[in-house]
Amino acid sequence: MEAMKGLTYRKINEDIASIGHRVGKAWLVVFGLDLLVLTFGICCWFYQLFKGLGVTGYTRPAMWAVYITNFVFWVGIAHSGTLISAILFLFRAGWRQAIYRVSEAMTVFAVMTAGLFPLIHLGRIWFFYWLIPYPNQRQIWVNFRSPLVWDVFAVSTYFTVSAIFFVVGMIPDIAAMRDRETGLRKKLYSLLALGWRGTSRNWKHYAQTYIYFAAFATPLVLSVHSVVSWDFAMAQNPGWHSTIFAPYFVAGAIFSGMALVVTLIVPIRKAFKLEQYITDWHFDAMAKLILFTGNIVTYSYLVEFFMAWYSGNPYERQAFWDRAFGPMGWAFWVMAACNCIIPQLLWKRRNRTHIPTLFVITLFVNVGMWYERFVIIVQSLNANFSPWIWRGGYKPTFVEWGITAGSFAWFFMYFLLFVRFLPTFSITELKEILPRPFRRSRKEKAA
């Protein structure tokens, strides 16, 4: 790990724990702007609440559109976090330590954002709790055959588990920060650290349970986005009713998630001068993963079209013809450009390690993956079974856009607070990558 040259345990503590103090005025400005956008989004939502969903551009047959697109988008974003922290942990991938805390935070906040949209999109949100399994109205429970109920379980489980994973992982670091701080922050951290002392007893059970968290989170990651994909695959709409959806969505999720991780880490690295911690080596690894998943996604697109043709099913054929060349075909081509073509640049090592290039590419990927969900949802609904209902058009109004923007603000609000007050990088795990503090080299010891 030549990258880590010149780092000592002490320096790590100083660098990481001090980030919260190094944010400065800029942080306040950004946070203020963020709150403004959020407020606008909330106003749009209230407007929709009082007037009715009609203030959006929704129209039959596009009964689902931007809101569900956002839901899937954010759930997707959430995935890379757990992937990095759990799966790569089990695979002992060395480059995860430096970035997993950021991506875990991203996961938790993304799920918190995603969770809003199924509610925002409800016709009668004031009865949202009827989706929760308890004998609510006239002793009726929920319909466990409905993929939406699966969502309720999958997303809430995913939020709980990833939040636990996130918090547990932070305990030793918060303890470290506690030991550096004074005054109010010290009190706060002492509370959060739960009195962690790094004793053998602490470490023994911590190490064990952490593995199990990872072991739980890994299948969970794969299941959650599969379940989300089944919202569509279980319905019989042409363009939705397909067995490829689960793997295809999971790959897409990791694809978009990794992209956003890069998008987030690049500015942080710059702002807090963490070049020593996050190096070309890290970016290279992430870029490779983006390229890999990106190609899986591309492959899925091709398979979808192939199957539509090969099945000879007129509904499917029509749906996919419309998808590319129909009235809203442009959305498909935006998606294809951002998800299939642009990421191919990452075959070149230079592009993988040239931060600005990589940064821009990830921005495209984020856009592309949003459009992927938009295309899958709106286009498929528009090309439904009954030709009489084909309308082909769907134009979002300012309400949808406002609420979407608000959701980004909501996400970044949490993220900014996280950067300010919590260990943005894992102090203890960074120490794990440094050479052990031996007085003698192993050879002398053996002798």
């Binding site: 009715g52 551009g57 199924p118 007129p314 009489w388 209902i389």
Partner: protein, 1014 residues
């Protein structure tokens, strides 16, 4: 302050101002209809709270005079349905009839007597208004011809009363309506010596040649004709007459035809004579070659036509109705009658006597003369009732200016229409559903009209007002009117025995079982036919056709009729013009672009709807739009064609010539969002609307059950899955089969002891079910008139959403008529599919609902629980038929008093809730309750959903699929039966019967299905 022409003295004025102020204050302190608040302390005798009371009456929406039953609840008329005994409609009802309740509760009705001062309408008391009118009347009736009384075309007692009253007051009566039938009547007089419109019954013919008669839309007695047409054309039992429609622009009627001949406008008579000559009708000088030339028809087509006419006698021929009647209309019809004689349909399929009497309407010519007299200034007092010359003749004949010449103008219109806006006094009449009266559309068919409820507003029936005025004058005039009220007058006219009369009331009148028919003598001879004179110049002929709902514009202020898409173009809310695709290409316009139409004297702009079924040199525009008054929904919508068309008339009869002008059509480049419901209009291999060649139709029903579907013994789902003979129809599984194979199967073992208490939950709720409601829809019968759609709106409190929402496809209709064009040999075939919730056995919508808001009820219905719905809209996504409607807003469409029409048997739906067709659950409930009260099981036919009830051709059949002997169960086994999207295995409860088509050789294969079966 004192306009010279305004004949009101200072004294009157002061008095009236006082009175008005008084009226205003009184009105101010009394809550409107305060008496209703305590109505049910002691309710009316025949009114039981919670139960419907039905009143037999007669529809007043068009001259056909259909018998109706008005359903009332707690003293409010809710819905109008056909009177099954009445010979005109035999229980059916059209969209206009269904919408009459929206005329009754129209928010733009005149709430009480109004007097115009300084351009504003002031409230006046009835007594003051009448007192004032009395004075004018006495003064004016002194000199003959000083009073002009404009009325609509009327029949029966009211008509006679008007005549008497006018005679008594030396008033000139002008009965005018734009669709006057003058040419037909005139031609009939010449040919048969009658003065009525011959009654048309296609069922008595083997062949139907319609030269532009839209006998299923507006012309004549559409419901009677539709019934006859269904018998003639629906191919029950494999027999199907051929219907050829000869029209420049294919009407709704034409869309049902087996062949379309796009004739050059105005040459129909020529064709008739040509055919007559070819068939030896004693005509000469019209050899087919020339006719083919002039009519722009291929000669071999004509030859074939002649051949077919020869082979299929009797053949019925009809002449052009409104749209096609030009300056030679009478001769054209004379030629048509001549041809009918030659084809032997007179007296059977076409019976001139007694014939249909659309009312004693004066011709356009007579009306113009009356207007001139009015303009001369001799007319001091002008009465207007039941007609709207301000709209129909406003600038066409200068009625509006002429009316200004009269000193005092009184309107009896219940609405603020174009005419009443010209008047000084409005004494609003009752709506037909609040009035007494009778109608005699056909001699011997006498329908009675009675009030179904107390007046909604402070209105008085004009008949009573007139009687009152006459009696108040005393002397000879009073002597003419011995009865104090119109009701008493009516009883006298009907025999004078109140008991007998009441008995007749319950029947809705006195009439034979069927329409009287009969031939007539007379000869007429060969008419001297001349080509129609067309004003203006340009490449296009303006083809002004009556809108099937709005017709002459009377229906234009009824939201239902605006929201329900036009059956042919599927345009809603807006006014439009139609041109052919080629013409559109030539003009470089697309759907919705605005075209400028120029007659040379006038110019208007209308958005274009492209219609593949019309000639390239014709531009078609529906009538009934372009109101400047008449209410919030009607005003400012498009163009008033009655003003726009040049004032031309048929030379012989003086009837208005609607085929009057050529026009210059140019592109304006202005965009317009013209609502178009219904996608591309093609099926894209989906086989939604299927057809079967006539040669295959009518194959014997009932066949061996397809393998793999045993009928379990002891199942109360008695009958097996329907299937025809091997091969046809394709494999068809009824939902009842699904019931047997799902949990519903074998539930009976689990059944508790009959005497045990059975909780409302558990399997037993399913095995206690006796019924499995289902529907069979015969596409061969459906004519696409959308009467069922309006009935559905009326029955189920369905909100109308207005243009802005409809542009986004947010219409709430539970039932829609899908109109698909299918390419067949020799052009395009139209197939109409009534599409509503299919109540699937495997309902895709049910599974995906997270909260059980929609589920499968024990009687096989796919029920939607509004209170439970949270609005995820997943059900709609997963519904292949897309028949679920979502409440995007709380629609505030029931503007008071329209909300009085809401059906108390079901709720209105709030925002955020999904809704859909329920098979009229409330009617099923009612039917079962009645059966239970009578301690019997529900009988087949007890229960009829609104759509099936009104259907003019009875294309919709509802019943219990679990009862093997029910008509629906039997029909579902018909050889033509199929399910829409059967390949998706949704097992719909609605079985469609393929349209029988002359124009296809074999069935179009269904790719998806083929794949599934393979």
């Amino acid at each position: 302050m004192n306009e010279p022409h305004h004949g009101i003295s200072r004294r009157d004025f002061l008095k009236l101002v006082g009175a008005t102020a008084g009226a205003a204050t009184v009105a101010g302190c009394l809550p409107p209809k305060a008496d209703r608040l305590i109505a049910y302390v002691n309710p009316p005798n025949d009114d039981i709270v919670g139960l419907s009371t039905w009143y037999a009456s007669t529809c007043d929406e068009c001259p056909a005079g259909c018998g109706i039953h008005v359903r009332t609840r707690e003293g409010r008329a809710l819905k109008v349905e056909g009177n099954p005994a009445h010979p005109v409609n035999k229980g059916t009802l059209c969209a206009r009839g269904q919408a009459s309740v929206q005329g009754l509760y129209n928010p733009d009705r005149v709430p009480g007597p109004k007097w115009k001062r300084g351009g504003r309408w002031l409230d006046v008391k009835w007594d003051d208004a009448l007192w004032m009118l009395q004075e004018k009347l006495v003064a004016a009736s002194a000199t003959a011809g000083a009073i002009q009384f404009w009325t609509g075309g009327e029949t029966g007692t009211w008509n006679a009363l008007l005549d008497d009253w006018c005679a008594a007051h030396g008033a000139e009566r002008v009965a005018y309506e734009p669709f006057d039938y003058a040419p037909v009547k005139e031609a009939a007089k010449r040919a048969f010596g009658t003065s009525t419109v011959p009654i048309v019954d296609p069922s008595k013919a083997k062949y139907l040649l319609s030269l532009g008669a839209d006998f299923l839309d507006t012309w004549g007695m559409p419901l009677a004709q539709a019934r006859g047409y269904d018998a003639f054309h629906s191919a029950r039992g494999g027999v199907m007459g051929k219907h050829v429609q000869v029209e420049p622009r294919l009407s709704l009627t034409g869309h049902n035809a087996d062949e379309w001949i796009a004739i050059r406008p105005g040459t129909e008579g020529l064709l008739a004579l040509g055919l007559a000559q070819a068939l030896g009708g004693g005509v000469s000088g019209y050899d087919l070659a020339r006719v083919a030339q002039d009519c722009d028809i291929a000669p071999d087509t004509l030859a074939r036509l002649v051949k077919e006419l020869q082979e299929n006698r009797p053949a019925l021929v009809l002449g052009p109705s409104t749209a096609g009647s030009g300056t030679n209309a009478t001769e054209t019809w004379a030629a048509v009658f001549l041809l009918n004689r030659a084809l032997g349909s007179v007296g059977t399929a076409l019976s001139p006597s007694p014939g249909f009497d659309p009312g004693n309407t004066a011709s356009f010519r007579a009306a113009r003369q009356a207007v001139n007299r009015l303009g001369s200034g001799n007319v001091k007092l002008l009465f207007v009732h039941g007609t709207n010359p301000g709209y129909w003749l406003g600038s066409a004949t200068g009625f509006s200016q002429a009316a200004g010449k009269a000193d005092f103008k009184v309107s009896f219109s219940p609405y603020y229409d174009e005419t009443s806006s010209l008047c000084d006094l409005i004494l609003p009449d009752h709506h037909a559903l609040e009035s007494w009266g009778d109608a005699e559309p056909v001699k011997g068919v006498r329908g009675l009209r009675q009030p179904a409820m107390r007046p909604v507003f402070q209105t008085r029936q004009t008949a009573d007002v007139l009687i009152g005025l006459a009696r108040a004058e005393g002397g000879a005039k009073a002597a003419k009117f011995p009865d104090a009220t119109f009701r008493e007058h009516l009883i006298r006219r009907w025999g004078g025995n109140a008991d007998v009369f009441n008995n007749q009331l319950t029947q809705g009148g006195v009439y034979p079982a069927d329409l009287p028919t009969g031939g007539a003598g007379g000869g007429g001879g060969v008419p001297a036919l001349v080509a129609p004179a067309l004003a203006g110049k340009g490449d296009f002929t303006l083809y002004a056709y009556p809108h099937p709902y709005h017709a002459d514009g009377a229906g234009a202020n009824k939201p239902w009729l605006l929201e329900i898409p036009d059956p042919v173009t599927k345009v809603a809310w807006d006014h439009w013009c139609e041109i052919s695709p080629d013409a559109a290409k030539k003009l470089g316009v697309d759907y919705g672009d605005v075209l400028a139409i120029d007659t040379g004297s006038a110019k208007v702009e209308l958005p274009v709807a492209i219609n593949p079924l019309m000639r390239n040199d014709v531009i078609a525009v529906p009538t009934g739009y372009g109101h400047t008054e008449y209410g919030r929904y009607a005003q400012g919508r498009g163009v008033n064609l009655f003003d726009f068309l040049p004032a031309a008339e048929d030379a012989s009869s003086g009837g208005r010539a609607f085929l009057a002008t050529k026009v210059e059509v140019t592109k304006t480049g202005k965009p317009w969002t013209l609502i178009h419901t219904g996608g591309p209009g093609r099926q894209a291999d989906r086989a939604v609307a299927r057809a079967i060649p006539l040669t295959l139709a009518g194959a014997p029903a009932g066949a061996p059950e397809p393998k793999g579907e045993p009928t379990p013994a002891g199942s109360d789902m008695a009958h097996g899955p329907a299937a025809g003979p091997e091969g046809t129809p394709p494999f068809l599984t009824m939902p009842t089969f699904r019931d047997r194979t799902s949990q519903l199967n074998g539930l009976h073992e689990k059944q508790l002891a009959p005497d045990a208490y059975q909780p409302p939950t558990g399997y037993n709720q399913y095995n206690r079910a006796h019924h499995r409601w289902g529907m069979a829809i015969d596409l061969s019968s459906c004519i696409g008139c959308s009467s069922c759609v309006s009935a559905c709106y009326a029955e189920n409190n369905i909100a109308w959403v207005g243009k802005t929402n409809m542009v986004r496809g947010r219409e709430m209709a539970w039932l829609r008529i899908e109109r698909y064009y299918e390419d067949v040999e020799g052009g395009i075939e139209t197939r109409f599919v009534p599409m509503m919730c299919q109540q699937c056995g495997n309902a895709p919508c049910e599974t995906v609902c997270p909260v059980y808001a929609t589920y499968h009820n024990p009687e096989g219905l796919n029920v939607q629980v509004y209170n439970r719905c949270v609005g995820t809209r997943y059900c709609s996504n997963n519904c292949p038929y897309k028949v679920r409607a979502f409440n995007w807003f709380d629609y505030d469409c029931w503007v008071s008093p329209l909300n009085w029409q809401l059906n108390p048997d079901l709720t209105t739906r709030s925002k955020g809730v999904m809704e859909k067709c329920t098979f009229c659950l409330q009617r099923i409930r009612e039917g079962k309750d009645i059966a239970r009260d009578q301690n019997r099981d529900v009988r087949d036919g007890d229960i009829t959903p609104a759509c099936a009830q009104g259907c003019p051709t009875q294309a919709i059949l509802f019943g219990d699929l679990a009862d093997a002997n029910s008509r629906v169960a039997k029909t579902a086994k018909d050889a033509r039966s199929y399910h829409v999207f059967a390949d998706l295995n949704t097992l719909p409860s609605i079985t469609y019967l393929k349209k029988v088509s002359r124009r296809i050789k074999e069935e179009t294969p269904v790719p998806a299905e083929a794949e599934v079966e393979a």
